[in-house]
């Protein structure tokens, strides 16, 4: 039994071997031509990025494409990496640009909000979870209604767990602005959610 759980544990870790090198260190190596190390960074961050894009776009296949784009961009622009701030800030900066470029390209094709009907189901919903599934849909819809800047700041803080300081650095603004925007975005989201639930906003 013990052996089995050990093997399972190893299998889970298998693809993401424990590596203690810091992100900045790894990225520096990638910059210097050891592009193999990019794999470690990918394993560390691709799920995080995927979920960032999923909250932003509410679309799984687009989010997967964007994740791919980000890592290709990193390879392409690896020589521009300076290593001054945290790697993760640099990563999010590239992710944001990738998303903005995608929106620009998509602008003429589909208006936002039409694409997120994909969200609800990954697996068939058991009856006791129907209500929760509906709530997920409503929340996603409400999020999609927020203007991009507010949606972004809310996602970064609530889901990506970035600190005020990191968000301010990433968005190039004051901490006070970040706080105010989180407050406003939450308020607006609550209103949108309430309206979608069939209530009348106060």
């Amino acid at each position: 039994m013990k052996i089995r759980s050990y093997i399972l544990k190893r299998l889970k870790q298998g693809r993401a071997p424990v590596n203690k090198a810091t992100d900045n260190n790894l990225m520096q190596q990638v910059k210097d031509g050891n592009v193999e190390k990019m794999a470690i960074l990918f394993e560390r961050y691709h799920v995080m990025l995927y979920n960032f894009f999923l909250r932003l776009t509410s679309n799984r296949s687009i989010s997967e494409d964007l994740v791919q784009d980000v890592f290709i961009r990193i390879l392409k622009y690896r020589s521009s990496y300076k290593g001054q701030n945290k790697f993760i800030i640099w990563l999010y900066r590239i992710a944001r640009n990738t998303h903005i470029d995608y929106l620009r390209k998509r602008k003429d094709e589909v208006s936002f909000g039409e694409q997120w009907d994909e969200v609800p189901s990954q697996e068939p919903t058991p009856p006791e979870k129907v209500e929760q599934a509906q709530e997920i849909v409503r929340l996603s819809q409400a999020l999609a209604k927020l203007p991009l800047k507010k949606r972004e700041v809310l996602i970064l803080s609530r889901f990506q767990n970035l600190k005020y300081k990191e968000i301010a650095e990433l968005l190039d603004c004051q901490i006070g602005t970040v706080k105010a925007n989180i407050h406003r975005a939450t308020k607006e989201l609550g209103k949108a959610y309430f309206e979608l639930s069939g209530g009348i906003a106060s």
Partner: protein, 239 residues
Amino acid sequence: MKCSQIKKRFSDFLTGEIDKAMRKEIEEHVTACGSCRDELESLSEIWTKLGVLPEEQPSDNVRTRFYAALEKYKQNLEKEKMRPNLGKLLDGWLERWAPRRPAFQFSLAVMLLAVGLAAGYFLHASLQRSGEIAQLRREVHQARQIAEVSLLRQESLSERLRGIDMTSRVEKSDEGTLEALLRFVSSDADINSRLAAIDALHLLPDYPLIRQEFVHSLSEQTSPLVEIALTLTHHIKNL
């Protein structure tokens, strides 16, 4: 604290970036203040509700595609290393010729600089000797003089004024233009062109010819304006 100050801390309350004392202060405030309590409650409600949105795993596609892209990128990088490009070739060639020791490198640089300077000096000297530049200068000067004089001879008043204006911009006028201008002062029918010509001559340094002509024409002028202008030029004033 006032409500507005408390509200500024609501985001801290939500995100948890807050110290215990501040949390306590907010909690105490909202038990007493109804409107703040309502707002914080609705904010907290939606904030907590967002936790329903699950963190998802991307499909295996993402991983497969990434490793394929990485592999391809590595191969391209290898190819690039193998292919000798022009820049590197040139570098290698120069490296073979350049001296290894810094002292020699330095003296080579100094030598090249000296050769460059010498070449520039001789080239310059030979140009001067052949007098091409001087010749060119003379030609340009002549061309300008012709333009000035021909403008001064125009029938139209405005053309003549333009000519006068042009001569006044030339630092050192020649005999030709000088005489043309002097002729204006004494014989042009229009007072404006006489005045303009006087102004132009005023800008020139002392010439005996100008003074002589001015004194002579002073006695013949009929317009008091022109007389005053003449007496005010330094050619007359300094008499």
